[in-house]
């Protein structure tokens, strides 16, 4: 029993030591948080379906370091993004900028919506006309009335 208690105390004492060891990884939590915010909006060029924040690729690690340095130099988020776009192109941005080459990309969904709504309206109008044209003969009318009455 005493041995277990000693072990427990020893473990309690050891925990703060472990915690201290992890400290150098995130030297400055504010810088680290900003770095993650910026890089999660950027695409890694090596593993193209991963963000720069999440990628394990070597280049992503280098670029995260670069972003840390730029933050420490006092650059704004936009300046840091511009820095990377100047080197790797708009492709690194998960939110592409709106400009002539991306108009179709941004406007495409709305274009499809307009075409779809247009097609729907045309379809409904045509159907409305077809339904109106279907008139009943006198014989059918009396049969229909008889059926309706029988139902009551």
């Amino acid at each position: 029993m005493k041995a277990i208690a000693t072990l427990f105390v020893a473990l309690l004492l050891a925990t703060p030591v472990l915690a201290k060891e992890a400290a150098p990884l995130a030297q400055d939590p504010a810088v680290e948080q900003r770095m993650i915010n910026i890089t999660s909006e950027l695409r890694c060029l090596v593993c193209q379906n991963e963000s720069l924040a999440a990628s394990q690729a070597e280049l992503a690690g280098d670029l995260r370091n670069e972003v840390r340095d730029l933050i420490k130099q006092g650059k704004t988020d936009q300046q840091i993004k511009d820095y990377l776009v100047a080197r790797y192109g708009d492709f690194v941005l998960y939110r592409p900028p709106v400009k002539p080459t991306t108009w179709l990309l941004w406007g495409g969904p709305f274009l499809f919506l307009i075409v779809g709504v247009g097609a729907l309206i045309a379809f409904l109008r045509r159907r409305g006309r077809q339904v109106a044209e279907a008139t009943l003969t006198d014989e059918e009318k009396t049969r229909a009335e008889a059926l309706l009455k029988a139902d009551q």
């Binding site: 060029l45 090596v46 193209q48 070597e58 280049l59 280098d62 670029l63 670069e66 776009v85 100047a86 080197r87 790797y88 192109g89 708009d90 492709f91």
Partner: protein
């Protein structure tokens, strides 16, 4: 009959888009640096004691070939460059050894001083060039990959064609193929050399 024409047209348009999409290589991201001045740098060469800066090449059309000894596609590309350089059909080629030591996943650089890493990079690059032949007029060492970041390198090998005014005119992503050399790079070199 009319009912089927519109879906058929939509179908073929879609097939057209997919067919084109299949032929595009998502690895080839167009470089924003084309038409812009080649970023400046000043790094040591494999020849100890010398440094290299792109401004030394002003007035010449030249190629900057980024490579590494740990890069498998570079090994595939290398014989083509060596043969073309020997024939004299290439403009001057500057080699840029990219992260020779720290890029090799088998080596841990955390305990190395920058001087040690530079020395190791130099000896490894030199050994590789002795073994496989050198198409380069000189080889510069980008030990930490900072030059690579400025040039937007994201996978070696990559090759930049730079004109007399120091403007980047073309970027080959991935190994130079004989077709790319004959159909794109050499005609462009000839045009730029006029």
């Amino acid at each position: 009959m009319n009912r089927f024409i519109i879906p058929l047209i939509i179908f073929f348009v879609l097939v057209g888009f997919l067919a084109v999409g299949l032929r595009l290589d998502p690895r080839e991201v167009p470089s924003p640096l084309i038409g812009k001045p080649a970023p400046a740098f000043d790094v040591p060469q494999v020849d100890a004691g010398k440094t290299f800066s792109p401004k030394e090449m002003l007035g010449k059309v030249w190629l900057l070939n980024v490579w590494s000894s740990w890069c498998v596609s570079c090994r595939a590309e290398h014989p083509l460059l060596v043969a073309a350089a020997r024939q004299g059909s290439l403009p001057p080629v500057v080699g840029l050894s990219y992260k020779e030591v720290r890029g090799d996943s088998e080596i841990d650089v955390s305990g190395m001083t920058p001087e040690q890493e530079l020395r190791l990079a130099r000896s490894r690059a030199e050994a590789w060039l002795t073994q496989h032949g050198s198409p380069y007029v000189l080889t510069a060492l980008d030990v930490d990959g900072r030059v690579g970041i400025d040039y937007g390198v994201y996978g070696v090998p990559e090759t930049y064609l730079i004109d007399k005014a120091g403007i980047i005119r073309y970027k080959q992503i991935g190994p130079i193929t004989p077709e790319a050399l004959q159909q794109k790079i050499l005609p462009l070199v000839k045009e730029l050399e006029k």
